[in-house]
Amino acid sequence: MLNIPLALGEPLHKGWPLVLEDTVGVLIPSARPANAPSRHVFTSPLIIANLVSGVRLIVGFVISIVLGGALGLAMWRWIELDRLLGPVFLGLQTLPSVCWVPLGILTFGINERGVLFVLVMGSFFAIAIALRDGLRGIPPLYQRAGLMLGARGWRLYRYVLIPASLPAFASSLRQGFSFAWRSLLGAELILAVEHKGLGFLLATGRDFSDVAKVVAVMIVMVMIGMLADRWIFAKLQAAVHRRFGLE
């Protein structure tokens, strides 16, 4: 699928205004002129692709949070582990997430697990590092107050340290989400797995030299990323900050 030559001339022949009009047609089928050829593939597949990518995102991101959260906590708790993993994680974070695709294919094959692998690898380091830093930033006074009031062992974590690290954790989720979203789309773009996500739609747009479709899918990607960031993660962060009085 990667070898279909790109018809780069199309937008130049049609002109950008026409491409944009087409794009609107792809995004909002009812806005399409009645005489325009039906582009069946773009209407319902767009919705399905959104659902497929959405489910992957949620599953992968939850795995990322659990894995990153556990490792962040462990790295904070055991300094030796942090010395071992900290630099590795920071290094791996510099790697563009699509670079995990080959390893994902070799490990899991071209399937759902391969896609999830790329998503998780692309985002959980950020969560682990941010949580570790968040825990490090907890005023020691909270820990002392907790111990004084009888919070020992796991209770100290559950009722003092974890809540105290919430502001940092909320920011790490926000950052982790943007990593996760980008990794997922990158993986979908390259890996043609059974269920077609947004990234795959982008790839088919390219394969059919359909600029309007490519642009339309990109707009959807940006919108979902921004909406999730604004409406979920920024709100979560703001709520935590309000609670802590950190305005």
Binding site: L141, R144, A145, M148, L149, A151, A164, R243, G245
Partner: protein
């Protein structure tokens, strides 16, 4: 309803069976690695049950260190520390502390902060709510029960911190300059409230401050802690009944007396240091020079 009655359910064991709370420090020394002088040297102090003891001294003389030792946050290199005959080992709700920076949990409301220790102790919900209610009442904060920490004023935060410490029914209440960050009016208000609470609960209180005025207002006994190394040279008994009139001439006179004692010590130390002026000064020495001028001393 008197305070004592209000508190009866919350602080059940604090009255009747109150010969609890005998705190004994014997020849305590504490060294921090890397510092030239020990933070505390050979400190001995006994707080009788129900006694209000104030340790006063300049900043850096080891007051917080002393309280942290009693709280079990630190362990002494030498000496014995016992509460009601039991060796102090690690932090425990029988020794609760009110910190200078309150140390309340910002993610919890005032009431939840007060309930925290009871929850950790496994006190059932209904009982917990009842005791929290009583504790809020005792610090006159019922209407602020559901406020978050950052919505409370500095004075209110300290009152919540006091309630959080007292609701655990500790054998001894530790207070580390709890009112140092408050303005004068609020501080006086809290002095009055603390006296009231102490009279009602009969707790052993170990209070540290750098303010001689505060020490004499509150304490049955004022212990002067000198710096570098921290050690106790003198103590004063304040024989005035509670509640006290803070503007009384007796208090003013005692304040002068304690201040003079501290100044004498500072002068003695300075004279000693002046003879050694040719020696390079360590930060500890510089600290010593600035001691006499500051704040309450």
């Amino acid at each position: 309803m008197s305070l004592a009655e209000t508190f009866a359910p919350a602080l059940a064991s604090s009255n009747g069976a109150s010969r609890r709370g005998r705190l004994v420090l014997e020849h305590i020394s504490k060294d921090f690695p890397g510092s030239t002088v020990p933070a505390l040297r050979d400190v001995s102090l006994t707080c009788e049950p129900g006694e209000f003891v104030v340790v006063v001294g300049p900043s850096g003389c080891g007051k917080s260190t002393l309280l942290n030792l009693v709280a079990g946050m630190l362990t002494p290199e030498e000496g014995r520390l016992t509460l009601d005959g039991q060796a102090v080992r690690g932090p425990h709700p029988e020794r609760t502390m009110v910190f200078q920076d309150h140390g309340l949990f910002p993610w919890l409301t005032a009431a939840q902060n007060i309930a925290f220790g009871l929850k950790m102790a496994g006190v059932p919900r209904a009982k917990r709510d009842q005791r929290v209610e009583a504790a809020l009442e005792m610090v006159h904060l019922r209407r602020s029960a559901d406020k978050l920490v950052h919505e409370l004023s500095g004075g209110m935060r300290q009152r919540v911190a006091i309630a959080r410490a007292l609701v655990m029914d500790p054998a001894v209440l530790l207070m580390d300059e709890p009112f140092a960050a408050l303005d004068a009016q609020n501080r006086t208000l809290l002095h009055e409230q603390l006296q009231e609470l102490w009279v009602a609960t009969q707790k052993t209180v170990l209070f540290v401050t750098h303010s001689v005025n505060e020490a004499v207002r509150l304490g049955d006994r004022v212990v002067v802690l000198h710096a570098h190394p921290g050690r106790i040279r003198r103590e004063f008994r304040v024989g005035l009944p509670h509640p006290r009139n803070f503007d009384s001439p007796e208090i003013a006179q005692l304040v002068r007396l304690v201040r003079r004692e501290i100044e004498d010590e500072v002068n003695r130390v300075n004279a000693q240091t002046d003879e050694e002026l040719w020696k390079p000064k360590t930060p500890a020495d510089l600290d010593r020079h600035s001691v006499g001028m500051g704040g309450g001393i």
